[in-house]
Amino acid sequence: MSLPNPADLISQMAVDLNAHLSKRAIVEPRFIGIRTGGVWVAQALLKALGSASPLGTLDVSFYRDDFSQNGLHPQVRPSELPFEIEGQHLVLIDDVLMSGRTIRAALNELFDYGRPASVTLVSLLDLDAAELPIRPDVVGATLSLAPTERVKLSGPAPLHLELQDLAL
């Protein structure tokens, strides 16, 4: 399977996000990327939007639901949100949406900072493998992979998608 070039997806995502936000009359959203790939996508997206908004970064390691199976991620970094969450419209950005568990963890973490007015979910890819009722509002591309296949994003510049097969 050939994977799309992230740069090609980002410009359309910027258009779709603008349309989504104006439909909901959201004027000053706060942008948050999920470490690490989501931060790269968020940076590219902000550039495409021509926005100088500060970017928050979220590390969801402390909120994951697989701690009792997989333990703590060894390179956990502090989350940095240079703005209030309370009452704000948030745009949450990740690279690859799969089970939806990372987004669940991210939402839980965000709510520990305050009660946002809304959260819009943006993902570069949706692998159509949700295990939770979580769907993106804006998505670059939707792919269906074989059960053993995974997609990995490398970056930050240039962004590049790579297919990995766990069975190999």
């Binding site: 701690f67 333990g71 703590l72 970094r77 502090p78 520990d112 900072y113």
Partner: protein, 334 residues
């Protein structure tokens, strides 16, 4: 004094991750750095409106204190609570041990309460090791101070304090001052500083309060405070442990203060931007002048804040290491 632990692999799992936290001896620099990095992330959690993360939800942490403690016990409790664990604290010094129960029997009783983790403080050196050796697998043991041997979470919170105020360890001069002989904090600090690459570690004390063989830690020994403090970046003061003093090690507290007490005048010999640390509880006018303890160089209260983050890091990493080992054992069994 035995500066080297024979049982050091006990605290690591097969992949070299922490599964108990007993001593800093034998732990690699990468692991110590990982503890500091993880603690940095937990410090950020401590600054939020909601200071709790769900990492250890459903786990039970049992603080077993055979020796009195306020700061260490409460910060361990707070750390466990901020990780969403359930916490029980037993002050054994005032209960079973005084009724004649052995350490092992106390331990079996605690195991029967299905705790996932023990934080142990004990007056005898090696007590935490002993418990880690005899505890059932999958239960993590954290040393909250054992006799004169080690106080590894204090050591790491001191390292976090130094790193946050000085950036790195590479070009630092650090002086540890006072009752080195009775101090498990001094031992843990010397080991950690060495491992993290601090090039100039000094200990300053009267000869009677220096353990024999201290040079094995790779430290420079001074018996004159002014000489030892010259141009240091970090001063770690130790509490004079009067309760452990047997025999006439010191002529008097007044004499000790006159020669080894940290005063504003003495501190003037250190670097202008030096920091002053103390594990607490401080004895004002015994090892440190009030003007220094409350002065601009003092980071003594920051240490307490950092202590919570370090304890959160160690609790979660040890639990994580136990989990990984269990997975590994299961895979091996299949």
């Amino acid at each position: 004094m035995t500066p080297l632990d024979a049982k050091r692999p006990l605290q690591l799992n097969d992949q070299g991750q922490l599964r108990h936290f007993l001593s800093l001896d034998g732990l690699r620099r990468e692991l110590l750095t990982e503890i500091l990095d993880t603690a940095d992330s937990f410090l950020e959690v401590g600054a939020r409106a909601v200071k709790k993360v769900p990492l250890l939800r459903g786990k039970t942490v049992c603080n077993v204190f055979f020796e009195n403690s306020t700061r260490t016990r409460t910060t361990f409790e707070m750390a466990a609570q901020r990780l969403s664990a359930d916490v029980i604290t037993l002050n054994v010094s005032t209960s079973s041990a005084s009724k004649g129960e052995t350490l092992l029997d106390t331990l079996r009783n605690l195991e029967a309460m299905a705790a996932d983790m023990f934080v142990v403080r004990h007056g005898e050196s090696g007590a935490a090791h002993f418990i880690a050796e005899h505890v059932c697998p999958q239960v993590a043991v954290i040393n909250g101070g054992d006799g004169r041997h080690a106080h590894p979470t204090q050591g790491m919170l001191d390292m976090l304090t130094i790193r946050r105020h000085k950036g790195s360890f590479e070009n630092l001069s650090v002086a540890i001052v006072g009752d080195i002989l009775h101090s498990r904090v001094a031992r843990s600090n010397m080991l950690a500083l060495k491992t993290l690459g601090c090039p100039d570690i000094r200990v300053i004390a009267p000869k009677t309060l220096l353990p024999i063989g201290i040079e094995q830690y790779g430290v420079k020994v001074y018996t004159d405070l002014a000489e030892g403090l010259k141009d240091v970046d970090v001063v770690i003061m130790l509490r004079l442990q009067r309760e452990r003093m047997t025999g006439g090690l010191l002529p008097s507290e007044g004499e000790f203060y006159r020669l080894f007490g940290l005063t504003t005048a003495r501190l003037a010999g250190a670097k202008p931007d030096c920091i002053v640390m103390h594990p607490g509880p401080i004895n004002r006018g015994v090892e440190i002048e009030s003007a220094v303890a409350d002065g601009p160089h003092s980071v003594i209260l920051n240490q307490v804040t950092y202590g919570i983050a370090i304890r959160m890091a160690v609790l979660s990493m040890a639990m994580s290491g136990q989990t990984a080992q269990r997975q590994f054992d299961q895979e091996k069994a299949q």
